[in-house]
């Protein structure tokens, strides 16, 4: 490289005056909005400052985050299961998966949450075992009564995760379909079973396709948790901040508090997603691991 006789090009780089003008314009616009907002009493900035780290808000943010994380974990596991069932050579699994997706994707999540809240009205108990098999009053199986105080938090989790599982199933299915059929043939030719092929060959390759929309779903779920009022669960971020705003007769500062927290979580999730995407791009980014 050092003994190269090439002359490095010394040219005046192309100027972009319009970019600078546009940047300046939007900066001024944003500045003007911020200055104006800072002086507008309706925003109630003192209340915002007072409540943004309020203990109740803090706990509510934790509830929202738990709802999101737990629901998504269940939804991802269920979604992968449903998608793999759709692909299974067993037609019964395929049909079960189809019906699940049909019902849970076909009705609004808000309506589903209301239904889960009414679970104790519809069903009085839940029985795991063989129906009809009993000796007198002794039933062989597990009997779970559904009472009024069946945790609203868990009802919300059930509602959110089952709905989300239907969407995750479709995302995973698209990912599985994106893997070339030659991959499955090669694996099968090596004597791998259907499940080994799925687990070690197809699913890892599908991840690259599955992760970006899944990140999107997590962010979407974070905001969908604000609908759990329908259950009715009122300990989440949105319901709690609405509740507090009733005390101070001004809804706006608490809405700003809620937005700040939602935005904070979303930002963190975007960073996490970025690193996971990098991890699963193995063998695809043009130059990693290339040495010759």
């Amino acid at each position: 490289m050092a003994q190269s006789t090439k002359t490095t090009i010394t040219a005046v780089p192309l100027r972009h005056p319009f970019r600078w003008a546009a940047a300046l314009y939007f900066l001024l616009l944003a500045g003007a909005f911020l200055v104006d907002a800072a002086h507008r009493s309706a925003y109630g900035w003192t209340d915002f400052g007072k409540y943004v780290f309020d203990r109740r808000v803090f706990i509510a943010a934790g509830v929202t985050l738990s709802l999101t994380v737990i629901s998504m974990l269940i939804a991802i596991v269920l979604g992968v299961g449903l998608a793999v069932m759709r692909r299974s050579p067993n037609p019964v699994f395929g049909a079960v998966s189809w019906v699940f997706i049909w019902v849970f994707r076909g009705t609004p999540v808000y309506v589903q949450l209301v239904f889960w809240g009414l679970l104790s009205t519809i069903y009085h108990s839940f029985f795991i075992g063989i129906p009809g098999l009993h000796f007198g009053n002794f039933y062989l199986g597990l009997h779970i009564p559904i009472t009024q105080d069946f945790s609203l938090f868990w009802l919300a989790i059930i509602g959110l995760s089952l709905n989300e599982a239907a969407y995750m199933a479709e995302i995973v299915r698209a990912g599985l379909l994106s893997v070339d059929s030659g991959q499955e043939e090669a694996a099968v030719s090596l004597g791998m079973s259907w499940w080994t092929t799925m687990r070690y060959i197809v699913i890892p390759q599908a991840m690259r396709i599955i992760i970006p929309p899944t990140g999107n779903e997590i962010i979407s779920m974070l905001k969908t948790t604000s609908l759990v009022t329908a259950v009715p669960l009122v300990t989440d971020l949105y319901a709690r901040t609405r509740n507090i705003s009733d005390e101070i007769y001004n809804p706006i500062p608490l809405l700003m508090v809620a937005c700040a927290w939602y935005l904070f979580f979303t930002t963190v999730l975007m960073f996490v997603q970025h690193f996971i995407e990098k991890r699963f791009a193995r063998g695809h980014s043009p130059l990693t691991g290339y040495q010759s």
Partner: protein, 255 residues
């Protein structure tokens, strides 16, 4: 069944919907022999090859490899479909190399080679790695162990694919147009590996358009067209004095 036969196919029929691709193919391959399947595209060569390791189900006839019927078990004169695990066990003994390599892109070259050993034969990982390195050396790629397939040339990828199949210690190797997707200057390196394999006594069935390879390496050549075998025999004989008009017109186009 004759003990010297590795593959015996009897009157194989295969249809996709109403389209009959194989119209009664019979073929015998002796142990340690190399058979080349040639013929125009659409003649059913690849489909026939895929039937041999049960990637395609046949509609009629019977295929035996090393004495066992592919895809079925015979009991008191009746055929029973094999369970998926039994069919998978049968495939372990039959290596397959594809036109488009079909390496696993998320695994390195070495991981590709040992994938079957580790996941199917449950060989200890470090032991598998040692064997994998030996195989990579055998195909001349010991300096590419940790490369992902996307960083290898087509010829290198196909050699890794061959090593991956050999790792299962197959008794029969099937090659489905192994050099058709390669740039012309990369064909030689793959054919060299295949020649070495043939010399080591591996039984091979090769679907190919490489007439030079067929002439030099094959023990017999089978010319197929329209789902039937038109003629077969000694490669030098068939290639220089084809008896059938269709063989003649095909060979005049490819040589």
């Amino acid at each position: 069944m004759n003990d010297t036969l590795m593959v015996e196919a009897l009157d194989i029929h295969k249809s996709f919907g109403s389209h009959e691709v194989l119209k009664g193919i019979s073929l015998e391959v002796k142990r340690g022999e190399v058979t080349c399947l040639v013929g125009p595209s659409g003649s059913g060569k690849s489909t026939f090859l895929r039937c041999i390791n049960h990637l395609e189900k046949i509609n009629a006839g019977r295929i035996s490899v090393d004495g066992s019927i592919i895809g079925y078990r015979e009991h008191r004169g009746k055929l029973y479909e094999l369970k998926p695990s039994e069919a998978a066990a049968q495939r372990v003994g039959i290596g397959m190399v594809f036109q488009r390599f079909n390496l696993f892109p998320h695994l390195t070259a070495l991981e590709n080679v040992i994938s079957g050993m580790v996941k199917v034969q449950k060989v200890d990982r470090s032991e598998a790695q040692q064997q994998g390195k030996d195989l990579m050396e055998r195909v001349g790629l010991s300096d590419k162990l940790n490369h992902y397939p996307s960083h290898l040339s087509g010829g290198q990828q196909q050699r890794v694919a061959i090593a991956r199949s050999l790792a299962m210690k197959p008794k029969l190797m099937l090659f489905d147009e192994p050099t058709s997707a390669l740039d012309p200057e990369l064909v030689g390196e793959v054919l060299d590996v295949m020649k070495g394999l043939a010399q080591s006594g591996m039984t091979m069935i090769v679907v190919t358009h490489e007439m030079g390879f067929a002439r030099e390496v094959a023990d017999s050549i089978v010319f197929m067209d329209g789902g039937i075998v038109i003629e077969s025999g000694d490669p030098a004989e068939v290639l220089s004095n084809p008896t059938h008009e269709r063989t003649r017109s095909f060979l005049s186009k490819v040589i």
